[in-house]
């Protein structure tokens, strides 16, 4: 499998014109729920595909961590998007987004328990059975822990990845956020993760708010996160890194600056 490579950026309709103007770009990610596989793709994505840019569908509402089985219609949609984009892989989160008939509107953490591992593994397997391409799983950022964790983060993730054979989508900003809000040493966590399974890496900005670090995707990437990227890439360099920006978009020069900083920190070629 040839997965994504180099420095990429999350494709959003709001910045489609900016993304289209990045000469060295080789991969982007698109929110899977924003694409309708039955309808023509957005012009911007068609153009990128025409240039040979990989487009990775990134699901945010599958709720793989939900106690109940994943909704087959959502899985079918994700598979359809992957096929429509001729994607090398798809990604989703180790999280749940709804329960008891209510939408959380957000990715929520799971208890790090055997029961939760079993629930995630069952849902990931159901999903993998329908997907035409490999699935990468992304650990999320959370502000709080469940009261009855049986495993630590590294063991929790490794067990899920081992049981499913899924790839890892490592979000460095989430690692930073979790360490900042829930304690722990980010570098030590990175050391214990199965980094050889990293398909690509997420990098995003955030901000301090009310005593917590919020992974907002609407603020600049903090220096501490770039330091973690540098540390990660000094060891086993991941094949690809992706900048996620979801709102409060800055002037083009600033966005280019963030992509350049990511290229410099990772040692990948500059895409701007």
């Amino acid at each position: 499998m040839t997965g994504p490579s180099g420095v990429g950026i999350g494709w959003r309709p709001e910045i489609a014109g900016f993304v289209a103007g990045l000469p060295g770009l080789r991969f982007v990610e698109v929110v899977a729920e924003a694409v309708a596989p039955a309808r023509p793709l957005p012009d911007g994505l068609t153009e990128l595909r025409g240039r040979g840019v990989d487009v990775v569908p990134h699901g945010v509402r599958l709720s793989l961590g939900g106690a109940e089985p994943v909704d087959p219609a959502r899985v079918a949609h994700l598979a359809g998007v992957a096929a429509a984009l001729d994607a090398p892989l798809v990604s989703e989160h180790i999280a749940f987004v709804r329960a008891g008939g209510l939408e959380a509107g957000h990715l929520l953490p799971l208890p790090r328990s055997r029961e939760a591992v079993a629930a995630v593994v069952a849902n990931v397997r159901r999903t993998q059975a329908e997907l035409p391409v490999p699935l990468a799983l992304e650990p999320i950022a959370a502000l709080f822990d469940w009261p009855d964790d049986e495993l630590d983060e590294a063991d929790f993730l490794t067990e899920i990845l081992d049981a499913t054979g899924a790839l890892l989508l490592l979000d460095v900003a989430n690692v930073h956020a979790n360490a900042r809000n829930r304690g722990g040493d980010p570098a030590a966590l990175l050391d214990r993760l199965p980094l050889e399974r990293v398909a690509y890496v997420h990098v995003a900005g955030g901000a301090e708010h009310g005593g917590f670090y919020h992974d907002t995707h609407t603020d600049p990437v903090p220096a501490a996160v770039l330091d973690l990227v540098r540390e990660l890439c000094a060891g086993r360099r991941p094949p690809a890194l992706l900048l996620e920006r979801d709102g409060h978009y800055p002037p083009a020069a600033e966005l280019r600056g963030e992509l350049d900083a990511l290229a410099a920190a990772s040692g990948h070629p500059v895409v701007t």
Binding site: G100, G105, F144
Partner: protein, 148 residues
């Protein structure tokens, strides 16, 4: 502890979005911070779907939205904004820009407050807070702006 993951997840979501009690064992401060963060994120999402409503409220938008949305689970950004706009209209606090946006939406789609809005097939006229909008064959025009 086994077998009750579904129930405990439901309790947590209810505490975060529907004003439910904090499930036992969770630290109150971080969960409260997550609840507020969620409301802020919803405020941003709804503003994206209702740009004029948010603009009309200006700096008061985040507070207006979060006060209204606290304890009220989302029905999606489109419907959340719609419900809020109607609520403000009924309390006579809908700003003119928001009234115009609401009138345009009401002319374009039928929304009963319970199911997702559906585009109107027949021409329609909508008046809201003094704004009047007309829709013919899917094209919406503002006939009269809201009084300022």
């Amino acid at each position: 502890m086994s077998g009750d993951l579904a129930a405990r997840q439901a309790e947590l979501v209810a505490a975060l979005v529907a004003g439910g009690p904090l499930p036992p064992g969770f630290a109150p401060a971080p969960v409260a911070a997550a609840r507020r963060a969620l409301l802020r994120k919803r405020a941003g999402d709804v503003a994206r779907h209702w740009p004029l409503l948010a603009a009309g409220l200006g700096p008061a938008w985040p507070a207006t939205f979060t006060t209204w949305a606290d304890g009220r689970p989302t029905n999606g950004s489109l419907r959340d904004g719609w419900d809020l706009a109607r609520d403000l209209r009924d309390r006579d606090t809908l700003p003119p820009l928001g009234a115009e946006e609401l009138a345009e939406r009401e002319a374009a789609s039928r929304y009963d407050g319970r199911r997702p809005p559906r585009p109107r097939r027949l021409p329609a006229l909508a008046r809201t807070g003094g704004a009047v909008a007309v829709q013919v064959a899917g094209r919406v025009r503002l006939l009269r702006p809201a009084p300022r």
